[in-house]
């Protein structure tokens, strides 16, 4: 269905990615934000809060991120579209209840405007080093969805997408922005509500005493019920059967836990979204996401000028990972180049999915700024000129690395 006109601030703006995230969340119908201030995400919470009276939303600044994410889960079960906004150190704290959220199949959105890490790191500098954490950060087996915007416009659009996916699949969705996207000011067009597709939660409509909160049909997504409507819900983070009751039984666990994971894995083809440019005739494909995909454009242009056939594959959805597409391309090309603002995270996934068919070159970056396009260009040249199949993923030696190590 279409967005509610009262929630859409239609117009053309010159705003940063953080503010665009707030506008996107409100347009998607988010009515509850619990957060704790953290650079470089704070402007998103500020922009959201300013608009709360007019859209009838609530912002609460919790005592810490452990509390923020717990409040987000509670508010979701009370029937609201909900989110929290954070950055690295807070992202670590919310991991506890990401697990609960996945276990009790709760729709909510987490915004992580990534900064330099580890630990306190460089709060005002860019990073992309929480990508694996967004997938594996909480203990145990679970699946989530992760998106990565590369501009304020996409920050707006992908935030809406994140809410739609969370509601459609009853799952936590992470929007992994970065400091550059969060603090970059650009033109953002907010279309009229009639042009914004918004997905609302599917509620159970049958007899109340026959409702099982984790009983799924063909689409694998169980319909939800709200607290306070007489269902007598019993929702627990203990491994549970479809009725929600704790189980200790091995066979039942295989059936029910597995189903919550298959819900995402078997729907992966429908969830995954990629943006490809000139990949079909490419010798080298640059795989990137977030701000790095925009830096890579310059390098691709440089390589194309030299006659190298380079394609770009941008991960809109980072998790679930596009395993099939990477495997398919790996059979056709001379190499993948994976620039990311970390010392290797998604590059390892690209390598895993290449099954040894092609070379994979990581272009690492320690954070606090973005790549020098020359380095990505250098890696593209290395990929195209490579005479042999590297035995494993290689890390491109950047100009900075050469300068420091001499």
């Amino acid at each position: 269905m279409k967005a509610n006109p009262g929630d859409v601030f239609t117009g053309s703006y010159y705003i940063d990615g953080d503010v665009a995230i707030a506008y996107g969340a409100i347009a998607a119908g988010c009515k509850f934000l619990a957060g704790y201030p953290i650079t470089p995400s704070t402007e998103a919470a500020e922009a959201f809060t300013k608009r709360t009276p007019e859209v009838g939303a609530i912002f609460v600044q919790m005592e810490d991120e452990l509390g923020s994410i717990a409040a987000v889960l509670g508010a979701s079960w009370a029937g609201k579209k909900v989110m929290t906004i954070t950055s690295g150190p807070g992202f670590s704290l919310i991991m506890e209840n990401i697990g609960l959220g996945a276990a009790i199949e709760t729709p909510f959105v987490v915004i992580n405007v990534q900064r330099g890490g580890p630990s306190t790191g460089i709060p005002t500098g860019a990073g992309q080093a929480d990508m694996m954490q967004s997938r594996w950060g909480s203990h145990g087996d679970y699946e989530v969805i992760t998106l990565a915007p590369d501009s304020p416009q996409e920050a707006f659009e992908f935030t809406i997408k994140a809410f739609n996916l969370a509601e459609r699949y009853r799952v936590p969705v992470m929007l992994m922005a970065d400091e550059c996207v969060g603090h970059m000011t650009e033109k953002v067009v907010v279309p009229p509500a009639s042009e914004i597709e918004v997905e609302n939660r599917k509620y159970y409509g049958g007899a109340k005493d026959a409702y099982f909160p984790f009983k799924r049909g063909a689409g694998l997504v169980p319909p939800m019920a709200k607290a306070g409507e007489g269902y007598g819900l019993y929702i627990t983070g203990l491994t549970h059967d479809e009725e929600g009751h704790p189980i200790l039984d091995r066979d039942l666990k295989e059936a029910t836990l597995r189903a919550s994971i298959d819900k995402i894995r078997l729907n992966a083809d429908k969830i995954i979204e990629l943006k490809e440019d000139r990949v079909d005739d490419a010798e080298v494909v640059v795989v990137s996401y977030g701000i790095t995909s925009r830096v890579a454009l310059k390098a691709i242009e440089m390589a194309r000028k030299e006659g190298i056939k380079v394609g770009a594959l941008r991960l809109v959805t980072v998790w679930p990972f596009p395993e099939k597409r990477i495997a398919e391309l790996s059979k056709k090309i001379k190499g993948f180049v994976v620039p990311e603002i970390n010392y290797g995270q998604i590059a390892f996934e690209v390598d895993r999915c290449s099954h040894g068919n092609t070379n994979v070159i990581l272009v690492p970056h320690g954070g606090a700024s973005v790549h020098n396009p020359e380095d990505i260009f250098g890696a593209i040249k290395q990929a195209v000129e490579a005479k042999k199949r590297y035995p494993q993923l290689v890390s491109y030696k950047t100009a900075l690395e050469k300068q420091i190590s001499g």
Partner: protein, 281 residues
Amino acid sequence: MAMAEKGKVEEKHPMEQLLRMDRMPHIWCPGCGIGISVTAFVSALKKLEFDLNKMCVVSGIGCTGRVAGYIKLDSFHTTHGRAIPFATGIKMANPDLKVVVFSGDGDLVSIGGNHFIHAARRNIDITVILVNNFIYAMTGGQVAPTTPETAYTTTSPFGNFETPANIPQLAEAAGAVYVARWTALHVRRLEKSIVEAINKPGFSLVEIVAPCSMYYSRINRLGAGIDMMRFYHENSIIKHDEPTENLAVGYQKQIIVGKFIDRERPGFIESNRRWSAEAKG
């Protein structure tokens, strides 16, 4: 359900409407005080003039954390320490609901201590029922921030040397509008306090000092649950309005019970509504 045979009394638990009878028997040990606390809670619910479909029970982790699983209302068994913020989220998202947090001392004032303080400070309209058994029982009897000084636990094998938390004092200082304490022996008074706490707008707390017959009593050689009840009978004293600074619990010392705080203060929901309306103009 089968019709009762003529002349035969149908066996029916008097509280089965509010308990998940299909989950019985419960996990609690013989002589544990949590069952009594649940009974007092359920009796209190029957006295409320409130649609119980609009009530949620939220628990954290631990022995008392399992309460959510036995109450036949919308109930949430969450993560360790996070029952209060989870409940806060429910209440803020739908202020028409009554939200009760039912959990233990370790869950609420140790790992969840920060949330306890801030929920009381922002005066979110929830009721916290805190069962204090002086020990981490689910994990086998480790020292807790509520363990009285000198008491033995599996991780204070030479006696506890830390100062335990005075929970009513903490609640008062943080801003709770209603604070009462009873032992598991004071079931009628406890029930009355639970009714009052639930009806009280704002952050209300009822602490229940309860026996852990399996770990706390055993390692300290205090006898069975019934012996702890006898101890409560002989050593608890009702002192309403007692200054909370006097409410620390010593090892096998007198336990002061009663209603200590009952005051008015604007709550989060009300203030948020007022400020939002003013901002909207």
